[in-house]
Every structure is written in structure tokens, then in C-alpha cells.
């Protein structure tokens, strides 16, 4: 009996240890697998295309082109599914977050929802009650997203680090931190540098806190935040 108990405990601990090695499973990070955003390469766990370092697919999902399906022969001996074309892995997977999700998402990312979010509802598209409408991105909705985010970012960026003018090093560090929180994944080098470039080089803004707020708003307007 005691031997069985010890064995079961050891097995359980082993399982927990294995799970603990999967960072994404613990810290809410996404991006793994063929259906994720495929940017975990920066963590060294996966390639940017979502595959394992050895090129294999992490969850074993096969290319849909390999799954031919069954023929459906109809009148005239014609296979009426013969012209169906398989899509690419993940090409139609990631979705734009609906307006109804934004309040809690802003709350999660910034600790506060924009005061103007309710008034801006129409700019994200009005879905009639009891209907579902696939959200789409538009110039006006993304502009609204940016401006709402900027105001909320500015209002919440009261910490000392955001009162100092950014340097390349601090910009990269803070951009990385913000992206990790907003997007729930580690940004790639290219993404981190794009954000840092904005805050260090691409603005003549003289108020440090506003520079940081622009970086924050830009990250919020990117697909890392507006999609899931």
C-alpha cells in the first residue's frame, strides 16, 4: 500500500514538473502550435512559424492538404467535393476581438478601461441584439482604438520610469514588458525594435510620458492585442 502511494506521488510530481516546463501553459502565453501567432521563437522554445526547433509540428497537427476527405459522388458520377481546396494551417484562425471584449481586455492590460469606450461603441460596429456579426477592422475603429488607448495609457502611466525620457535601452525594455503583458507573449526582436523606434526616434514629442503613452497605444493597436 505504502509502495503504491509513493509510486503514485512520484508519478504525479513528474507530471507536474513536465507541465511546469511549458511556460505558455502557466503564464498565459499564447502563440504555440500551428494555430497560435507563432512568435514563441523569441523564448527559444519554438520557431517563429510555430514549429519546434527541429522543424516538427508541436501538437502533431498535419497539413490539411494531406487530409483529402471522402469523395461524394453525385449525379453524372461527379465528385462534387473534388474542387474543394484545403486552406493553409491557421489562415482563418485568429479573430478580431469584438467590442464586447474590449472593456475587460483594457482592464487586464492597462488596469483601467477607457472612459470613452462606451461612447465609442458605434465606431466598432453596432451589432443588433441577438445577432452575431464577425468583427472587422476599419480605419476608424483602429483610429478609435489608438486614441482610446493613448488616453488610458497616459492616465495610468504614473510610475517614475515613464517620467524619464526614453533611451534605446529603456525603450526596448519597456516595450518588451508592455508587449508581454498586452499580447500575452514575448515580442520578437522586430516587434520590440519597432516599438522602441517609435518612442525614441519617430516622435518629436517633448513630454516623456506622452512618448511612452504612444508606445503603449501602438502596442494596443497591433494585432497582438486587437486579435485573439
Amino acid at each position: 500500500m505504502m509502495k503504491s502511494l509513493i509510486a503514485a506521488t512520484l508519478v504525479s510530481l513528474t507530471v507536474v514538473a513536465c507541465v511546469a516546463e511549458d511556460g505558455s501553459a502557466l503564464n498565459g502565453g499564447r502563440g504555440g502550435g500551428p494555430n497560435g501567432d507563432g512568435t514563441q521563437g523569441a523564448d527559444g522554445t519554438q520557431n517563429p512559424d510555430g514549429t519546434n526547433p527541429d522543424g516538427t509540428n508541436p501538437d502533431g497537427t498535419q497539413n490539411p492538404a494531406l487530409c483529402q476527405g471522402k469523395p461524394h459522388i453525385g449525379f453524372g458520377n461527379v465528385d462534387f467535393v473534388a474542387d474543394r481546396k484545403p486552406g493553409e494551417l491557421g489562415e482563418n484562425r485568429r479573430r478580431i476581438k469584438p467590442y464586447s471584449a474590449l472593456r475587460t481586455e483594457f482592464q487586464r492590460a492597462l488596469g483601467a478601461a477607457p472612459a470613452g469606450l462606451t461612447a465609442a461603441a458605434a465606431s466598432f460596429g453596432d451589432t443588433p441584439a441577438r445577432w452575431y456579426s464577425e468583427p472587422v477592422a476599419g480605419a476608424v475603429s483602429l483610429y478609435s482604438m489608438y486614441t482610446l488607448a493613448f488616453t488610458t495609457c497616459y492616465d495610468t502611466m504614473t510610475q517614475a520610469e515613464y517620467q524619464a525620457a526614453p533611451t534605446q535601452a529603456t525603450a526596448e525594455t519597456e516595450c518588451s514588458k508592455m508587449a508581454r503583458k498586452f499580447w500575452q507573449r514575448t515580442p520578437t526582436d522586430e516587434e520590440r525594435l519597432a516599438c522602441a523606434e517609435l518612442v525614441v526616434t519617430n516622435t518629436t514629442e517633448t513630454v516623456a510620458r506622452r512618448r511612452w503613452a504612444h508606445a503603449c497605444a501602438s502596442l494596443i493597436t497591433a494585432t497582438g492585442f486587437i486579435t485573439f
Binding site: D49, L142, T147, A215
Partner: protein, 400 residues
């Protein structure tokens, strides 16, 4: 050998060589590289689509005098050779009634989905986007759908040469985007916002590449958002629109608001605007035409009249070329007001000749020589005065 010389090319060369802003389409500092205009003046085609169908009494009522749909000599209005039901005529200012044409479209389709989709297609491309691209200019948003995210039948068209369809669902946010917001410490400034949107686009690229189908609207939207905030601000007031169109708010959720949003987009430089009314025009059994007359009076007429008065009539005609086309899935057939395999559009604009190719016979039929969908769009292109023929030869030269 055909010489490759056009008005578009001439203006482009002239703009670069002279270093001068050729007219109103070249404002601000970002005109280099945009110094072409395919039309000689600001031009917008506004396409009003009645989801479900359009009774032929609104495009050629005299085909049914004392025979069908309740048409008599007393409920129609003659505008030259174009005779239409008075409920729609009441929306057309007297001064532009000689600029009304009726265009026939033999699409041969009697089911809603196919009709709605095919009327807005040019081969595999989106016809409104092809036209918006041909019109040219430097508007930040060249094609807009007011009050809807899509074209009829839920179609989300692929961009054409970088021209994408942008949804306009809120006047307030749109005005803020083109007019700018009042400055405050926690309000984003336009120059850095433009850079920030560019950075967001750069950061979004890898995800869009991996999910191109479900995120197909993101990159064009970021491009259009960047273009919008990069333009010099244009003064607009939501209060002015509310007063003119009798609105209570800025949400684009009824037809009057859609016409107000259409005006906003016309004035901000859009080339094509699509305004759909709800799917209430599938008027089976409306043999007297009273149902569609009531809807035309109550739903369409107020906003359309205001729009035509402000954007097409009087001094507006000296400032821009705005063409309004009104159509639906198909005509209503006889005897039961069901689905006819053709449709005509009523088109209004200063470049239109007062004539018709869209008058049906007494059984709502159009002759075998009446062109199809491409002919309709080329007629709009001709009325827009574009210097190309993106839809082929214009079979409606009698109209524009």
C-alpha cells in the same frame, strides 16, 4: 501603336514638373507622389442599395400606368423622359430633375444572394473598388460602406490596387479622425499617432501573414487609418450634420444617418460610398405598390432629399461631381411583386443626360439588348469622367 498618354499621366507629369498643387486635390505637404487625379474635379459615386429589391415604379413608372402596382397619372412625376413614382421624386430637388437617368441592368438573377453579390462584382474584383481606384485622387479613405461593415450579401471585398472598403459606423469617431480632436495632455497628437499606427502595422505584419484570411481587413485598415491622420485636418462638426439630417447622435444606424455619413465621406474625399437600407425591400405581395411607397416616403426620402440638396444641387454642383445611383437586388415581378431577373437603377448627377435605358415593359421586362452589370458600372465611370474604361466600353453612352 497606341500612345500611352492620358489625362492622369498628364496631370502627374504636370504636378511633378511644375511643383505646383494642381487644384484642390493636392492639399498639404504630402502631395508628392499623389499628384494624379483621374477625374477633373472631386468626384464621388454614392450607391444606395435597397436590400431585397426595388420596384420598377422608381425607375420607370409609366410602364405600369393604370395596369399594375397602383400607378396612375396622379402619382408619378415626369423628369424629361424619366417618369418615376412621386414618393422618390419628392426627394429630388427641382433644380436637378433634368439630371436624372434610368439605367437598365440585365443580370438574369432571381435569388437574393447571387443578385446582391453579382451587382457589385467586376470579374473577380469588387466593382466599387475598381471604380474607386479608377477615380483616383488622394482621399485617405477612397471607398466606404456607411452603416455596414460589408457590401450587400455580407461580401468583404479584397482591396483593388490598395483601395479597400472601409466601414463608417460612427460619425463622431470619423469626424475626429479627419478633423482632429481638441488637444489635451492625455489626447494623442496626429503626427505621432500616424507614426504609432505605422509602428502598429509593422508589429502586426507577422500575425497577419500567418492568418491572412481571418485578419484580411487589418492591414488595409491600418493603411487607411495612417492615411487619414496624415492628412491636413478638415473642419467638420457633428452638430451640423445632426441639424441638417435630423439626427440625435453620431451612430450610423438608420438611413438618415447613412446619408449624413455619405456626405461626410464625400466631403472628406471618398470616391465611392455604398449606403444600404435594411432587408425590408423584399416586398412579396405588394401588388398595389403601397408598401414600397410608404417605405420610400418614410425611410429614404428625408435623408436622400437632404443629401441631394447639399451635395448635388445648386452651388454644390460647382464644387464637386457627386453621382447618386439607387438600385436593389432586382425589380419586383408581376403579378405578385416577386423576383424579376433584371433591375434598373435611377442615377442622379450633373453629368447625367436626362434619358433612360432602364424603362421596363409592362411586364417588368427589359429588352434583350440591355447590357448587364459591367455596363452599369462603366456608365458610372463615364459619369465620373474617369479617363479609363475599367469595365469595358460604355453601352449607355446615351446617358453619360
Amino acid at each position: 501603336m497606341k500612345k500611352n498618354f492620358s489625362r492622369r499621366g498628364f496631370l502627374k507629369m504636370a504636378g511633378i514638373a511644375a511643383g505646383a498643387a494642381v487644384g484642390h486635390r493636392l492639399p498639404g505637404s504630402s502631395w508628392l507622389g499623389e499628384a494624379f487625379a483621374a477625374t477633373p474635379e472631386p468626384t464621388t459615386v454614392v450607391c444606395i442599395f435597397l436590400n431585397g429589391g426595388i420596384n420598377a415604379i422608381f425607375t420607370g413608372a409609366d410602364a405600369f400606368t393604370n395596369t399594375a402596382f397602383g400607378v396612375t397619372g396622379n402619382n408619378v412625376t415626369a423628369m424629361g423622359g424619366v417618369i418615376i413614382d412621386t414618393t422618390l421624386a419628392a426627394a429630388i430637388p427641382t433644380g436637378i430633375r433634368t439630371k436624372v437617368a434610368s439605367v437598365g441592368i440585365r443580370h438574369g438573377t432571381t435569388d437574393h444572394g447571387n443578385a446582391e453579390t453579382s451587382l457589385f462584382m467586376s470579374g473577380t474584383q469588387s466593382a466599387p473598388l475598381v471604380l474607386a481606384n479608377a477615380i483616383g485622387g488622394n482621399g485617405a479613405i477612397k471607398a466606404a460602406s456607411v452603416g455596414n461593415n460589408t457590401l450587400p450579401n455580407g461580401v468583404r471585398p479584397n482591396p483593388v490596387s490598395g483601395v479597400s472598403l472601409q466601414p463608417i459606423t460612427d460619425m463622431g469617431a470619423t469626424i475626429e479622425a479627419v478633423a482632429g480632436a481638441a488637444m489635451a495632455p492625455n489626447v494623442a497628437d496626429r503626427p505621432t499617432t500616424a507614426k504609432g499606427i505605422l509602428a502598429a502595422q509593422k508589429m502586426s505584419k507577422p500575425t497577419i501573414v500567418k492568418h491572412p484570411k481571418s485578419l484580411e481587413t487589418v492591414d488595409p485598415a491600418l493603411t487607411a487609418a495612417y492615411a487619414t491622420v496624415s492628412k491636413p485636418v478638415q473642419p467638420f462638426s457633428a452638430a451640423d450634420f445632426n441639424t441638417a439630417y435630423g439626427l440625435n447622435g453620431t451612430a450610423v444606424n438608420n438611413f438618415r444617418a447613412k446619408m449624413a455619413a455619405a456626405e461626410l465621406m464625400v466631403r472628406s474625399g471618398a470616391n465611392v460610398v455604398v449606403a444600404q437600407d435594411d432587408f425590408v425591400w423584399d416586398t412579396h405581395g405588394d401588388t398595389t405598390g403601397n408598401n414600397v411607397r410608404n417605405m420610400m416616403t418614410q425611410r429614404i426620402q428625408p435623408g436622400l432629399r437632404t443629401f441631394l440638396t447639399r451635395m448635388v444641387d445648386g452651388t454644390a454642383a460647382m464644387e464637386r461631381n457627386v453621382i447618386v445611383a439607387i438600385l436593389g437586388d432586382f425589380h419586383r415581378s408581376l403579378p405578385g411583386s416577386d423576383h424579376q431577373g433584371n433591375v434598373s437603377a435611377l442615377v442622379i448627377g450633373k453629368t447625367l443626360k436626362n434619358a433612360t435605358t432602364g424603362k421596363t415593359d409592362g411586364n417588368v421586362g427589359l429588352g434583350p439588348a440591355v447590357p448587364g452589370v459591367a455596363g452599369f458600372w462603366q456608365m458610372l465611370a463615364a459619369a465620373s469622367k474617369v479617363d479609363v474604361s475599367p469595365f469595358g466600353a460604355n453601352p449607355h453612352a446615351v446617358l453619360a
